[in-house]
Symmetry: C2
Amino acid sequence: MSVSRLFIEADLAAGVEVALDEAQAHYLRHVMRREEGASLLLFNGRDGEWKAVLSLRGRKAAVAVVEGRTRIQAEEPDVWLCFAPVKRARIDFIVEKATELGVSLLQPVLTQHTAVERVNVDRLRANAIEAAEQTERLSVPEVRRPVELGRLIDQWPAGRRLLMCDETGGGPPIAGALAALDSAARTAPWAIVIGPEGGFAQAELAALRRMTDVTPVGLGPRILRADTAALAALACWQAVLGDWREPTPRLSGDYRTARSAR
Amino acid sequence: MSVSRLFIEADLAAGVEVALDEAQAHYLRHVMRREEGASLLLFNGRDGEWKAVLSLRGRKAAVAVVEGRTRIQAEEPDVWLCFAPVKRARIDFIVEKATELGVSLLQPVLTQHTAVERVNVDRLRANAIEAAEQTERLSVPEVRRPVELGRLIDQWPAGRRLLMCDETGGGPPIAGALAALDSAARTAPWAIVIGPEGGFAQAELAALRRMTDVTPVGLGPRILRADTAALAALACWQAVLGDWREPTPRLSGDYRTARSAR
């Protein structure tokens, strides 16, 4: 049986007893049918990953009793994804995939051609937590409330570089543009900025291009949906500048089936 | 109003009248509510893209009268995606995204740890056509019937290189591995091979590694779902070896909203 893996807010250390929230307790007791003493893995984005055992309390509640650390918290790339909200299935998909691909922060951005303006931030946060839990990530990306593009530009943090992907923008090829960056740029914090389905308006494109430290790129001759462009750009960024540059550890053949439920 | 874009099997040339199939006629007449003389764009994967006008026949049927060519058929990268079938929403997603990312052929592969064995090939073909229609692609990838991994290996076409992505395999970083290839490898036909959710079995990994022209790669320290790994690998392949190496054309700001319905 696979081991359930949970994101929690509390500090983690050997011997600590962590209260599980109502949804987590319900999931473990009634969906996964876990019993007293079942093994768990916990992470909080700060203290690494810890083995714990389930302890039932009353008819509905549960706590996790923390035992030993299984993984050390590693430093992760600082790369934001700024994207225009799209309809429900596709925005859920962006959050899930970007979390797996190691994004550090998700920023919905409202533009002139943004078709969808209402964003359920709580649902997106729940999706990000679930994706982190299921794919062995040790942190959960921050999900911010939607912001107008103009305001995002005005408040842009100094030193954070932009990788600007716009289907209408005629940018240079992404692999070459990333490979040509100097070492200061390669080690800076980054943000990937993706236009809405209708593309950025001309004034928006101009405002983005006026920013310092912006790298416009193209993603080939086919028109990509906004969600596809976001993930493709993030994968290329990780491969060329991010933590995909390190060799991955060799895992035992049944590592994934044994550890995580899918 | 946006212009409907349709994939058809027939040859395309100026003045030709193309019969639309029942589903296409229904979609245009009753879903999109197109009327006599409405503009269409047609492509067949061979003759480029053509402007046409709709002509209604009787109460249900319709034909397209072809006018002039709007785009020349361009050569596309020859890159297959060999992937283990996953459950419905995720396999539909793989087909849609891989089509946008320019895959030439989709090959479902049955492995020891493949959880899903039934694949609705007709539905996958319909998804590939829809993705090509909506994202300006001039061709539709071939979708093959599922095949056992052993048989796929036995019948592997000479000279087609493999990019092997396996979460448990400890491969070298993808960007470096692709950049280090010699020019013969860079211009060869390729296939991206993705393991199932449970990973390849040890014997399968060994059989894949014994093939000539195999390049094992890793996709970073986080465990990716099989669908995420497929798209990330394809994006990196296009960026480093495929047609994303060419600058993209600059399009007018309202190009996408004017041309395609989403």
